[in-house]
């Protein structure tokens, strides 16, 4: 009995120490959305349970190793205890109640992260190998960065043209896969102005590690200004522009495979590509004119350049104007 009391005291102390220790380590990223608040509250309940259970097992374990170790010269045996029905029932029923309670709270928390604001801003998010694109149907604009007004719920409608991706901004906590052939949704209410990064969390092929885009949370005024600027840009955008094409080259990730200085890469270099003769893997030769390049970008599988592997070049759901910009950029690389 004396042993039990000592161990119980140690367990309580240890629980306290482990829990404070965990908190002192700042285990979670900054909290920047109402959904994150809900998730973190759940995390803290779990930390308490973890601290307690950790102590409940390790303390008597270490205590036994010290107190009940076989001392030199002792040839005796342990005390004959086969079990104890009451104890066994106890440590089945109490955990059972605990896990049901945690499931219940977990379901409540999940519900809270899904709470719908009918006024939510809608953004259509396309995740593709290996970048993100954001469309604002209410404003008719498209962007490579996700701009969000602070304290307003946004409904992300996620789509993928190729493989599964996953939308995750650690500061917002919640995460949702992007599945080809269907739309998935995620609701986020950012609460802190700042710059974050959305990173793809589901392995989606070679350049998965680099599939990320900026997420910028701004005040409502700044958001309105950004929208206006974007709208102007898109009306100005008359005719293809090599400068915009170069930006796309960098932001869309073409850069990962295509060089612009003639050096070798995963894909053919773009230097001197425009107007040159290209040999395809079926032996035919074509001229890399505008039509061929546009087709290559739209449908990479349609014609394969000799010496390169089919299926490497990802298909991007690009708009015609973006393709035109890219081709203008390629054309500028003599």
């Amino acid at each position: 009995m004396r042993h039990v009391v000592i161990v119980a005291l140690f367990v309580l102390t240890m629980t306290f120490l482990v829990y404070t220790g965990l908190n002192a380590l700042n285990p979670l990223p900054t909290q920047a959305a109402t959904q994150a608040v809900v998730v973190d509250r759940m995390f803290h309940l779990e930390f308490i349970a973890i601290a307690f259970l950790f102590s409940l097992i390790t303390v008597p374990l270490v205590y036994s190793l010290i107190v009940f170790r076989r001392r030199p010269g002792d040839t005796g045996v342990g005390r004959h205890i086969e079990g104890n029905i009451k104890l066994e029932l106890l440590w089945t029923i109490i955990p059972l109640i605990t896990v049901i309670a945690f499931s219940y709270m977990g379901a409540q928390a999940l519900g809270d992260t899904l709470r719908v604001d009918p006024q939510a801003l809608q953004v259509k998010v396309t995740g593709f190998q290996w970048a993100w694109r954001f469309e604002y149907p209410d404003y008719g604009i498209t962007s490579n960065a996700l701009y969000l007004p602070v304290n307003r719920q946004v409904l992300l409608r996620l789509e993928s043209p190729d493989v599964i991706h996953s939308f995750w901004v650690p500061e917002f906590r919640v995460k949702q896969d992007v599945v080809p052939g269907r739309e998935t949704q995620l609701r986020i209410t950012p609460t802190t102005i700042g710059e974050y990064t959305v990173r793809c969390a589901e392995l989606c092929g070679v350049s998965h590690a680099y599939m990320r885009s900026p997420v910028v949370v701004v005040s409502q005024e700044d958001f309105d200004a950004w929208v206006a600027e974007k709208q102007e840009e898109s009306t100005e955008a008359t005719g293809p522009d090599a400068g915009r094409g170069q930006k796309l080259y960098e932001t869309l990730g073409c850069k990962a495979c295509h060089s612009v200085d003639g050096s070798e890469g995963v894909g053919p270099t773009w230097k001197g590509l425009f107007g040159s003769e290209v040999e395809l893997d079926d032996g035919s030769v074509v001229v890399a004119d505008e039509a061929f390049l546009a087709e290559s970008i739209r449908e990479p599988g349609a014609a394969i350049v000799a010496g390169f592997a089919e299926g490497t070049m990802p298909s991007y759901a690009l708009e015609e104007s973006q393709i035109a910009d890219l081709i203008a950029f390629i054309e500028s690389l003599k």
Partner: protein, 614 residues
Amino acid sequence: MKKILSIGLVRGLVFQMIGTLIGALLVTAVRAAMGLSAFSARTFGFTEPAWVFGGFVGVLAFVYGTRVLDDWIAWARGEDTPEHREDEPGWRKYFSPSLDHKVIGIQYTVTSLLLLSVGGLFALIFRTELAASGLQFLSLKMYNTLMSLHGIIMIVSILLGIAGVMNYLVPLMIGAPDMAFPRLNAFSFWVAPPAAVLLLSSLALGGFDTGWTGYPPLSARAPLGMQMFFLGVWVAGWSSILGALNLIATVLRMRAKGMTAFRMPIFVWAAVATSLIALTATQLIGLSFQLVMFQRLFGMGFFDPAKGGNPILFQHLFWFYSHPAVYVFVLPGLGLISELLPVFVRKPLFGYRWVAMSSLGIALVGFLVWAHHMFTSGMNEYLRVPFMYSTLLVAVPTGVKFFSWVATLWEGKIELPTPMLFTLGAIVAFLMGGLSGPPNAIVATDLHLHDTYFIVGHFHDTMFGGYIFPFFAAIYYWFPKATGRRLNEKLGKWHFWLMTPSFLVLTMGMMRIGLLGMRRRIADYDPALGFDLTHTVLTVAAFLIAISVLIFFYNIYITLRKGEVVTGNVWNSRSPEWQVPSPMPAHNYDRPIEVVGEPYDYSLPDAPYVRFAE
């Protein structure tokens, strides 16, 4: 030459090569006759269908080549063969089919250790790559391939390892002369090496970049290596299913007189629970992979949304096996913990029946939780809540085990030789895994944790605690039984004290950066996240683990050459296999065993567990 070719393994490998070639040529000829393209530069000469069919024929040829089918072929012809086949003396018997469960057990275990080394080597390579941000020496593609192969090779290694331990121990523990179906047993082992060859061949055939989960549509577009991976797992599945069938039959039919269900050694309970899962769930992973293979080969759009398929369906099929599979990996290990604790504490296992039932409980509930891997997948939203309840329910029987272990230690006479150290290490490691589990099971927090390094840390904890530590404990403990020599204690302690802290640092570090935003399965990370230092520490920890395992291999080598010879009951165990001299004779017990007491009454020295019939 003739002498070398008389070795089953060598013949098998030669046959596999020839078989692969014949299969591939056959398909190529048919394709040419049909006017389809016969060769492809993109897929290393042969077309993809040719490679896949070749790989399949290669496996059949391997198995045929080893002569493990010979008895069955003879029977089909109406010929008789002798009931027993005596093995060659010495080491050669391990390289050819044997019908002795102990030889097969060692074959499994050694193959498992080999694959463990290969998988571990892959991990070290990409762990080194991760030591700093930026790409050091691996390409993105190579990283993905190594990471994916590490996963699947370790899984196969674990499956073979538990098959090894179960094969060796279960017949001995229940007092049987062998497994119920010795030829099936040999067959189950001999399909594993060609499967391993297939898996490794994916490295040479373009690799694959999907992780061991092989989710389509990514896996439907991946390089040819993907198919070799699918086929390899598919074949390895046979080993698992047939081995499980055999084990269940053995335990049901061949127990010694007096060995009622609740007088079986607790490890046997765990082995049965594991085998029940392996027998009934493995089909699903084989099938889900087969469906993707067919999608690639024949354009069947099972998981292709453009053809009306559903990528999420794959995840359901895949996890319906792959979740229970983790219990296949850990239940035997947890059984070993329960088996070894009483020996070194000299008192009974606390609540034996409840512990036995908890294994079955875990096996049962384990079937109802698969979708917890899919909380963010976009499956029907309301499904997430019931799967959270069922998943957390697993904590109850798991908790029962922990409480029983601690209660077993309580008021014992604890000794700490190497096997006991590893048993205690297993408890601590599995505790870390167990405690980091519920946050993933609770949907709200899993929305943050899913697909992060936290998960990686969590399952390495469960795999080390549920398999690696107990597996080493078992090797240290039963090595004298198998070889008549005892592993060096001093080296064993080095192994333990180097591995355990490194391992704890490794997984806790993984969990920490996972919580902070480190994704899993990435070749490179943003230096702005500030994870460089932690990753360096993790890499160092990984190398220390590797060094500790090298010490273990050295220990085996040196012990086999000149280790302490022990033929008696080294650990003063009550289990029947220790009541006869080591190494174990060929047909186990020369006199039948009768069970006359409880298995774990270590605190009652005058009440034996088994008696030999006069």
